[in-house]
Amino acid sequence: MTYIRPKFRHPELPENKIGHSISYYEGVLSTLCAGCGHDSISAAIMQACFESNIEPYRLAKMSGIGCSSKAPNYFLGKSHGFNSVHGRMPSVTTGANLGNRDLIYIGVSGDGDSASIGMGQFVHVVRRNLNMVYIVMNNGCYGLTKGQDSATADIGSISKAGSENHFHPIDLVSLALELGAPFVAQSFSGDKTQLVPLIKAAMKHTGFAFINVISPCVTFNNNVGSTKSYDYVREHIDATGTVDFVPPAKEITAEYEEGTVANVTMHDGSLLHLHKLAKGWDPFDRVSAINAVHNALLKGEILTGLLYINEGSTDLHHLLGTTDTPLNAVPQEKLCPGSEMLKKINAEQV
């Protein structure tokens, strides 16, 4: 990898509607291995934010520990970020979101971070339906400690050192579906065409949006026998459909055959076109999505795309009944009951 970022940017890079070119969405130079899938995902996040006309400072990047969790440093340098402790990104994001509901929260995690030490927090953040985008950069191994199997490593997968994994993998997508996540998607870091609209849709979605991205580890899990290598994934990938994201202002043209396209209206009026490819799968039916994922797993395939969406999802703030004003902006006058009230409280204690 290079250690010096070229300063040159083409002066005529296209700008989005709020006047920023893609370079505005960059972070610091990645220190991940050259060819790391995670860098591709970072690039997809940048592209999605650029295309969605998002002001980076209105977005918060959250992560735990691991190669994946280092990634927020490498995109959206103008956003605040929080690189917390191992597996506990969900709780920090929950608190952050409770404190200020007006930001967009993108949490980035790894398979070690989410499926092992952070499993409890992952499960509960789904359960609470926190309004956030939760991306797992899933490579089936621990990169930072040099290649140990993670809990998402497939049974029979061969590590770089040649040993076979004997344990059943935890399939985060199935788990998220079972737990009631209202937006569940799966993709491949090498498929930016699919990933970018998924991230855009996830950011627009109200409530918990989960994207599991198979992201090969070029250094420790890209060998023959690995089921998370580039070659293996390319050979076994199967898409549910393709996704188009249509911003609210754009004219919607129906060019698709009736019955193969599903339109999903997001809260701000933007639309998702889902072009269905997979048979026997209904993206609005959780059970159907669960079955589709299970059937693909049985065939040794990785089903990608937007697997399930609940358009009517709300979020944790709705469940708690919190005020529309971000809690960090509620003035003292509204928070402190004052001295007279305290006198009344005292009078109740005698």
């Binding site: 929950t94 952050a96 409770l98 930001l103 409890g120 927090q121 529309d324 928070l335």
Partner: protein, 612 residues
């Protein structure tokens, strides 16, 4: 049995109620306490309860003191022995000449008979079975019957209790009449059957002033409301659970927008302590005042995150209601044994600010202060309460609030301020006090953003593994800790004339019994200087007080003299300078225990001098 000629002791009494957990004795026992309080007599109850919901022995001990002593003292004058399971130890605990109230429906077994105490048998079960048909009422009202009998025996005003009953059941009026009936049953029985006068009496006084009675945990919860906390995340654990429960109920009352019905707060019962503190840190990172409450085992689980909050400099407020360790220890008993684990929670060189309240009033004030301090210092602040303080009602000064008080939000840069700064550095020590300027997410389109993390950063929040910036940062954190020494509340001095070469140091819930022990010493002609520690880091006044005495005797409720260790490490006090006065059996320390230990230290001193 007293014949009435003996001069009665007025308003000086320790009474213990021995009950079976889950039989509804708590509210009846509190009725007794509150009635005495309403009569203007200083009173202090302590729950001594098992880690069990039903069936195990539970005790409620009430100290009544004309002189205003609110700590425990040894010697039980009165035992209400309602638990056959603990009868033997309950009978044995009464001091000579004391009284035992028991249910005489069944004959008291020989093994429980002592010659040197007085027995007051009341056929409580028989009376309840006769008067009440509902089985639950028969059970519940047994407790009310003995409270009624006590009112007659001790001279507690029946009207006061009756009024309390109607207040307690306001809204459930149907329950008032049977409760009053049960009270009267007990009272009438005592009047008819015990025509002699006891040598202990309660008499109306005007000694409580404008005091209130409140639990420390409720005061902490209320403090968080007044401090403007908007996010609470917690995981239930005795004895801290009622902190957030109190916060919740006060928020429901004072923080719901009347027009929209929406809440100016968010409370999450997390899946565990790790998640609870994570949420608190996340919310504070975003500039919302947030807190959690836990006890020792929770502090252990939260330690990793506390280290992050320390190093990443995120304000965090934690109420630690300490209980008896180690491990699960005695989970429903009191101790002051999280001092070291709280002060240094987490790996690496980490130090946290601690506050030590002694009363519910201080629980309220220190909780409010904790939020200001946490934001001013951008660091975790831990309020070190304990079970005794948190879960018992205490007579305490009324809570006050200055409406002019504005929350101190610390060094948080606004967008306008950021505009004027050429290059913002998250960890630049601009003011040389170790406290740097933070920015909140979403403040400015292009300036002030940084990545918060637990790994080493340079002054501009850039990742670095270089030795120099790491050391610079660690040294600045110590500079900040030194700044904290002058921001935290200083010690409180008693008899500060430096008139003794030995002095007493104490903190937290040891305060009431220490004050009594000091008076006991005074009666013997020994006047000792004394100091109460209110916070950590230790400021200079604490060090000066210690160095100005030959030796100090440090009272603490743990085995390992943890505060002593902290003073040795952090204030450089020589080990030989601090003599320990320790108590760690899980029950709140008594004045007599402190008195004896101090006396032993003083006797050893005299002996040493003579030998010399």
């Amino acid at each position: 049995m007293s014949d009435g000629k003996v001069k009665a002791k007025i308003n000086d009494l320790v009474i213990r109620f021995a009950n079976v957990n889950g039989t509804g004795s708590a509210s009846a026992n509190f009725l007794f306490t509150k009635a005495i309080f309403r009569m203007g007599v200083p009173v202090s109850p302590k729950n001594i309860f098992p880690s069990n919901i039903q069936g195990a022995p539970t005790w409620y001990e009430v100290r009544v003191s004309e002189k205003g002593y609110l700590g425990r003292r040894d010697g039980i004058d009165f035992m209400v022995a309602m638990n056959p399971q603990s009868m033997k130890q309950d009978v044995a605990a009464v001091k000579t000449g004391g009284y035992i109230i028991y249910d005489s429906t069944k004959i008291l077994h020989d093994e429980f008979i002592r010659d040197d105490v007085n027995y007051l048998g009341i056929p409580i079960m028989e009376m309840c079975n006769k008067e009440f048909s509902d089985p639950r009422q028969r059970q519940l009202f047994k407790n009310v019957v003995y409270v009624g009998a006590l009112s007659a025996l001790l001279g507690i005003e029946f009207d006061a209790i009756e009024k309390l009953v109607s207040e307690q059941f306001a809204g459930k009026e149907k329950l008032i009449a049977p409760n009053v009936k049960a009270l009267r049953l007990g009272s009438d029985y005592a009047k008819e059957n015990f025509k002699f006068k006891l040598n202990i009496r309660i008499e109306r006084r005007d000694l409580v002033g404008d005091s209130i009675m409140i639990e420390g945990n409720a005061a902490c919860g209320l403090g968080a409301v007044y401090a403007g906390a908007t996010v609470a995340a917690w995981y239930p654990i005795t004895p801290s659970t009622s902190v957030v429960e109190a916060f919740h109920s006060y928020c429901d009352e004072y923080r719901v927008d009347k027009e929209t019905g929406k809440k100016n707060f968010a409370i999450v019962q997390a899946e565990d302590e790790l998640s609870a503190i994570g949420m608190v840190i996340g919310a504070n990172w975003n500039g919302a005042r947030s807190f959690t409450a836990t006890s020792g085992p929770g502090v252990s689980l939260m330690s990793e995150f506390l280290g992050l909050a320390y190093y990443a400099e995120v304000p965090t407020v934690l109420i630690d209601v300490q209980r008896t360790g180690p491990s699960t220890g005695l989970p429903t008993r009191s101790q002051q044994s999280d001092i070291i684990s709280a002060a240094y929670a987490s790996h690496g060189d980490t130090k946290h600010v601690l506050l030590f309240p002694s009363t519910p009033t201080e629980c309220f004030n220190m909780t409010v202060d904790a939020f200001d301090l946490a934001e001013e210092l951008q660091t975790p602040v831990i309020v070190m309460s304990d079970l005794d303080l948190g879960m018992n009602e205490h007579m305490t000064a009324p809570l006050t609030w200055d409406d002019k008080r504005k929350y101190k939000r610390g060094k948080v840069l606004t967008a306008e301020q950021l505009d004027k700064i050429e290059r913002y550095g998250r960890f630049l020590d601009v003011d040389k006090d170790g406290i740097t300027y933070r920015t909140l997410p979403g403040t400015h389109p292009t300036k002030g953003a940084f990545l918060t993390r637990g790994t080493s950063s340079d002054e501009y929040a850039g990742y670095t593994e270089e030795p120099e910036p790491y050391v610079r940062n660690m040294d600045r954190l110590i500079r900040k800790f030194n700044t904290a020494k002058n921001r935290v509340p200083g010690p409180e001095f008693l008899q500060k004339k430096n008139n003794s070469d030995y002095a007493v140091i104490f903190f937290g819930t040891s305060t009431p019994p220490v004050l009594e022990a000091l008076d006991m010493l005074k009666e013997k002609g020994i006047v000792l200087d004394a100091m109460r520690i209110l916070s950590f880091p230790f400021n200079k006044a604490i060090e000066d007080f210690i160095s100005s005495h030959e030796k100090v005797m440090l009272v603490e409720q743990n085995r390992d003299a943890q505060m002593r260790s902290l003073l040795m490490i952090e204030a450089g006090i020589e080990p030989g300078k601090i003599l320990s006065v320790l108590s760690y059996d899980g029950t709140p320390v008594t004045a007599d225990n402190i008195f004896k230990q101090i006396n032993a230290h003083l006797a050893a001193k005299v002996k040493t001098k003579k030998t010399n």
